[in-house]
């Protein structure tokens, strides 16, 4: 008995010592400056662009926000899961993985569990084709089955978030930035497409205001993709965003109050700053531009 316990302690301890020694060994013979350079190289693999990164909110976060709008679920708006076999190259697979993650977020927010299940299945399948299923833990899929059986939409929404995070981190970790950039772009385009299909233009409405907010996310999307623009697919896709960006760029800026911060019950309130307004004509231009790009992605027509 004691021997087994001893082995349990000693073997991992020895392993740790070996690892520690391996890490220490170059230090003893090397100039400290070289060590710094080595660690810099290591660091550059993790952080890029001089420690500056831009993050893009996920489709889940966006749909969580628009729950305040009276939205009815419409399956026809989403990309048909049967289209998956049309995506045979990495570019269309990555883009449409993004499209399907947004569809899943929408289904999990507004649809029923059966609808969500279809999109979980297509994401798992697409994950296989993109070799990212190592990231998508089987236990998550077991939980998904349980939540579908239990008709638990809140849990499905959380799991769809987890699936996105796992895929995102896995691609980042495995230095597959270009794929990640295309996935994020696909998810963003589909989210905006769904939003523009949800209702008609109404000046000052919550929906239009949420669409205008995407002006900021587009800026971050550009910054995020810029990190991988040496990849021809990423560069090409960045260019396809131009008609959408032009609409956002031409929104009228309404100067607001001076910036102010107040503190109320331990919560800081940020106030002030500009707003933007969108005319019906701009809304229709945006809707067409998004529709055009989304159709290209879904039909894999580049």
């Amino acid at each position: 008995m004691k021997k087994i316990v001893l082995k349990l302690f000693i073997i991992p301890l020895l392993a740790m010592l070996i690892v520690a020694c391996e890490e220490e060994s170059p230090k003893s013979d090397t100039d400290p400056q070289d060590v710094d350079q080595e660690s810099n190289k290591e660091q550059q693999a993790l952080i890029t662009n001089d420690n500056r990164v831009s993050m893009v909110p996920t489709p889940n976060e966006l749909f969580d926000i628009i729950k305040e709008v009276n939205v009815s679920y419409d399956e026809q708006v989403l990309n048909n899961p049967d289209n998956i076999d049309n995506y045979t190259d990495k570019k269309s697979q990555s883009l449409n993985f993004g499209i399907y993650t947004a569809d899943l977020a929408f289904a999990a927010s507004f649809g029923n569990p059966t609808e969500s299940a279809k999109y979980f299945t297509v994401i798992k399948d697409m994950g296989d084709r993109l070799n990212i299923n190592n990231a998508l833990d089987q236990t998550v899929f077991d939980q998904i089955d349980k939540s579908i059986q239990g008709n638990n939409n809140n849990e499905l929404f959380k799991l769809s978030n987890d699936t996105y995070y796992d895929a995102y981190t896995y691609l980042k970790e495995n230095e597959r930035g270009p794929s990640l950039a295309l996935i994020v772009l696909g998810g963003w385009v589909e989210s905006l497409y769904i939003m523009t299909q949800l209702g008609k233009y109404e000046e000052g409405s919550v929906l239009v205001s949420r669409i205008i907010d995407q002006k900021y996310t587009l800026e971050n999307l550009y910054d995020f993709m810029q990190e991988y623009e040496s990849d021809i697919d990423v560069m090409e896709m960045m260019a396809t965003l131009q008609p959408i960006d032009e609409v956002f760029l031409n929104l009228e800026e309404l100067l607001g109050d001076e910036f102010s911060n107040t503190n109320e019950k331990d919560v800081n309130l940020m106030d002030g700053g500009s707003d933007f307004s969108m005319t019906e004509d701009q809304y229709n231009h945006l809707k067409n531009a998004v529709n055009e790009l989304r159709t290209k992605i879904v039909e894999s027509d580049f």
């Binding site: 890490e23 993050m55 889940n60 969580d64 970790e173 971050n220 550009y222 131009q242 919560v267 940020m270």
Partner: protein, 200 residues
């Protein structure tokens, strides 16, 4: 069997952050202390990275109107950093313009009969958006008793930049390991709406 596993777990659980340190920093934010009990959910704009002590990092995020956000930092691998992060939340006033850039690809050139005659450089001109930014500081923890988190709501959707300085804190373990970077997590959490009542 449980008796066998128990000492093993007791030995390894406290060492978990060291293993994170030894591997990589990609998941480090998952090990930060989350505020689920206060109703917050993990926001996917959270990020993890490896930093040299003394470094400054910037993360640009989007915060939506109608949400309450909580921003905090942690370093499970270098606990001596916890409580010592210096950070600012900056809002950028953005103005954009288009800039044209040209890149070249090599493509095979054919004559009028369809025979290869060599390679030619084909220019691809792409219009790119370039943004000019002016910063406005929204929060500076050095002006708030070195607070290690920031809870806020915004009256409109905004683009913010979280600037964090990774402090240089001497540590015996740090000096002995010879490792020059620390894993740091920027944890962003959110929940809906305004919280009112006796709890606040």
């Amino acid at each position: 069997m449980i008796k066998l596993i128990k000492p093993f777990l007791l030995f390894f659980i406290p060492l978990a952050p060291l293993f994170i340190h030894a591997q990589d920093c990609h998941h480090v934010v998952k090990y930060c202390e989350h505020s689920n009990r206060e109703g917050y959910v993990f926001n996917m704009q959270s990020s993890s990275g490896a930093f040299i002590q003394g470094d400054t990092a910037e993360v640009s995020i989007i915060v939506y109107k109608g949400m309450e956000y909580k921003i905090s930092f942690c370093s499970p691998s270098n606990p001596e950093l916890n409580g010592n992060f210096q950070f600012k939340i900056v809002e950028l006033i953005t103005k954009g313009k288009w800039v044209e850039t040209t890149t070249y690809t090599n493509e095979i050139e054919y004559d009028e009969y369809g025979y290869e005659i060599g390679e030619q450089k084909v220019p691809h001109t792409i219009k790119k958006r370039v943004y000019e930014k002016q910063p406005v500081v929204r929060f500076d923890n050095s002006e708030h008793e070195n607070a290690q988190d920031f809870v806020f709501q915004s009256n409109k959707t905004r683009k913010l930049v979280v600037k964090v300085y990774i402090p240089e804190v001497p540590s015996e373990e740090y000096d002995m390991s010879g490792e020059t970077y620390s894993c740091v997590g920027l944890l962003i959490e959110h929940q809906k709406g305004v919280k009112t009542g006796f709890g606040r």
